[in-house]
Symmetry: C2
């Protein structure tokens, strides 16, 4: 037995240290690409245990990769350098809502949906709503700075984190931020750590900001026969003084896939479907919906449907929710992207995506959070078909290029992880990447904290083929 394994077993007992291949295998993948076996899986339950693990890892220069529920779309929890897999999902779940302070203090293992429920019980709301909320942990959301449809009005995970308890790569405990909404004491380590993809420390506790729960909602669906007009509708709505909570989009390929998967009378001849949700005071929601309806109709959206009840709203949203299962029937392998562009460039980006689809003959569908320019161009393919995967790789690289050409970004909400690391310099430039690395090296001199993420390894290229 390795000396480090002895030390881990002494710390956590045999019950929370796993070295059998069968146990390790279930920690070797996430919802993105690639399989990487950790050398050992450990299940810490206290901050002190994480500290001790980090000290052992430094002593033996072992990589440490924290993992929540493994729903990540960019490879965050993949132990690409082997080493220690930190299974954070076994941590005792705790959600404490302090209604008077409009905050919640949570442990990393709780599911995001449980935070939503606890906030609602107090008449409050935790806005970030990644699609995976029912299965993903807040720890993972914090590491990746998850978004979601409500990002349009409310912002993303980072905008709702005001304090963290962190174990540094060298095993020290640090508290960043606090329980106040405003804080300008020193550099903003909270916002540096949220979205750092587990490369700067292990999050062991978080203080989240809550908002009053909006008393009413209204849902609207609008279909367009061409993308340029849909783009105008988005711009015109967002500059009209109304800020919807959500503004989601489905392209024709998505509409058709959903309608094939579960027929419900969607307008399959349309090029673009917008799903909009307003929230706030009942009177306002009604007025805002009317105002936007006029804008949509003036741009010849047809039909424009306003939900008359919560049930009807659910029915409209089900079209959007069925996108993922519906497109999964096209082909077995999904490459899920999240290139994001300035709102005014959405129609151009859609045009570029159309060209890429034709050029590489790939099954490219587009949906996503279009109100903030955050598209999800997904390529449906089959990993067993190598020739197709090569075309898919080229298409993905060109999607990134298109987003950057239009003043956009590689990733709006999924993170860089393993897959996008080779493209970082294209967006941030050599100086930008060098300045990021300086922070990483200063905080993690032995490079043991989730190595292989964000920063490309020498000569690393996008490869989707090795499974």
């Amino acid at each position: 037995m390795h000396e480090w394994e002895e030390q881990l077993r002494a710390l956590l007992s045999d019950k929370r240290v796993f070295t059998e291949i069968a146990d390790r295998y279930s920690y070797s993948f996430d919802a993105s690409f690639g399989e990487h076996l950790p050398e050992v899986v450990v299940q810490p339950k206290t901050t002190e245990e994480v500290q001790a693990i980090m000290k052992i890892a430094n002593r033996f220069t072992l990589a440490v990769t924290p993992r929540g529920q493994g729903t990540c779309l960019s490879g965050g929890p993949l132990p690409v350098h082997g080493g220690i897999l930190l299974d954070m999902a076994q941590w005792p779940g705790e959600i404490n809502v302090f209604a008077d302070d409009l905050i919640a203090v949570v442990t990393p293992s709780v599911l995001t949906a449980d935070i939503h429920a606890a906030a609602e019980d107090a008449g409050l709301m935790y806005p970030p709503d990644p699609s995976s909320a029912h299965v993903s942990t807040i720890g993972g959301n914090l590491a990746e700075n998850s978004g979601g449809p409500r990002g349009l009005k409310y912002g993303v995970t980072k905008d709702f984190v005001i304090g963290l308890e962190i174990v540094t790569p060298e095993g020290e405990v640090m508290h960043t931020g606090g329980r106040t909404i405003k804080n300008v004491t020193g550099y903003d380590l909270t916002k540096l750590l949220v979205g750092s993809e587990g490369t700067l420390g292990v999050i062991t506790k978080a203080t989240l900001k809550l908002v009053p729960k909006p008393p009413a909602k209204q849902t609207m669906m609008a279909a367009f026969t061409d993308m340029a007009t849909a783009g105008k509708a988005i711009s015109k709505t967002l500059t009209s003084g109304v800020l919807p909570a959500k503004m989601e989009f489905m392209d024709r390929a998505c509409i058709e896939a959903v309608e094939r998967y579960r027929p419900s009378g969607l307008p399959t001849a349309s090029e673009a479907l917008l799903l909009i949700e307003f929230d706030g005071h009942p009177e306002t929601v009604k007025l805002e919906a009317e105002q936007v309806k006029k804008i949509l109709e003036s741009l010849e959206a047809d039909p424009v449907i306003t939900a008359g009840s919560e049930e009807e709203a659910q029915k409209l949203w089900s079209a959007r929710k069925l996108v993922s299962p519906a497109i999964a029937t096209i082909k077995p392998t999904k490459i899920s992207e999240d290139a994001t562009v300035p709102r005014s460039r959405i129609p151009e980006m859609m045009e570029r995506l159309k060209q890429i689809k034709e050029k590489y003959q790939v099954e490219l569908v587009v949906f996503g959070h279009i109100g903030d320019g955050n598209l999800h161009p997904d390529i449906m393919c089959d990993q067993r078909d190598e020739e197709e995967m090569i075309r898919a790789e080229k298409a993905v690289a060109e999607i990134f290029r298109a987003a950057l050409d239009l003043g956009g970004t590689l990733s709006g909400e999924h993170g860089i992880g393993t897959m996008k690391a080779p493209f970082m310099e294209q967006e941030m430039g050599e100086v930008g990447v060098a300045m990021l690395k300086r922070i990483k090296e200063a905080w993690d001199p032995n490079n043991i904290m989730n190595p292989g993420k964000i920063f490309a390894e020498k000569g690393q290229k996008l490869v989707l083929r090795d499974g």
Copy 2:
């Protein structure tokens, strides 16, 4: 002539390099405490010039301190290590609003109020509204992460910055973030730099996020006979589902000072005055105001006044705006603090402030952005009275202690600068300060970028007396 001076003059010509004491003197102070003469003042107008200056500064290990209009309340633009004063206010002012993208691209020298105006012209709003907006530059706001009353609903400067052009301490150009609302590409350098008080680089351009301009506003004033009830009113309002744009507070000493300064019938027998502004859709604003009025009246606020017109609203707000000139008549020297506590601890903080006022016999007045727990306890004193200044120093230290005891922070919006540096470790702990320093050292190996701020010098203590 020093070699570095020759090099600076060769770069900028004699017209933009100043070494005469009369010229340097006007750059030796800001709106906080202390006077520090720079060795030279330079006025760069391009990013390339800033790069060249930083390279000269590194070559000769000269401190570089960027300065906007010098309205800082924590010493950010004070050249405490002499060296080069970078007068950024001469930079050509440019504000480009891209309405379809809901963004504005600005140069560091523009006044924040001019950004407000440009956004409004496009039917949009730039929410951060520090009281100094009419005289402070956006560059200074960015360096200090300025707040303001609208922070309650909208957040602070950092929440509205999505991209920066930066000259690093070693003179390289770097672009962080971009023009998209969502961006999770690498560590969030944008939010690390905003609020870093000029210690990590020079901001030469910024991309700001704008929001739709709310079509209506409503102002309300409420007076309370005791602070505990006012505290309840704040909590109850903020958990009622209504989020006002502003919720400002004045204590009895402020009310009396303003009423003495310009009599307008303020309720001088009250312990607490709340000024609330709602914004949004006209119907909503009306309904929200009615709902909050009921809450205030149920807690026996008396009177509760709702402005019937824009003119009446202005009149109510003038009480809050007159606080600074009014309290300036109490004594000539103002120590302006911004300790911030979790909202639920506001009444306790008020009680602690009362005790501090009595214990040290200082003229302590309290006002501020109470909706987010961000108080401004200001001590009015006379710098020529050494004995009084010693009491004031002790009172300030105890205000910091009280804020931290109650789970709060040293600074909600003014920054750490020179004055609060000695207290940093009390809030962030030894590990926290050490991790901040690692970033600073990694980015600025020669420690030339605004040294003497945030990090306490060896043995540094709070001293308000040396002028």
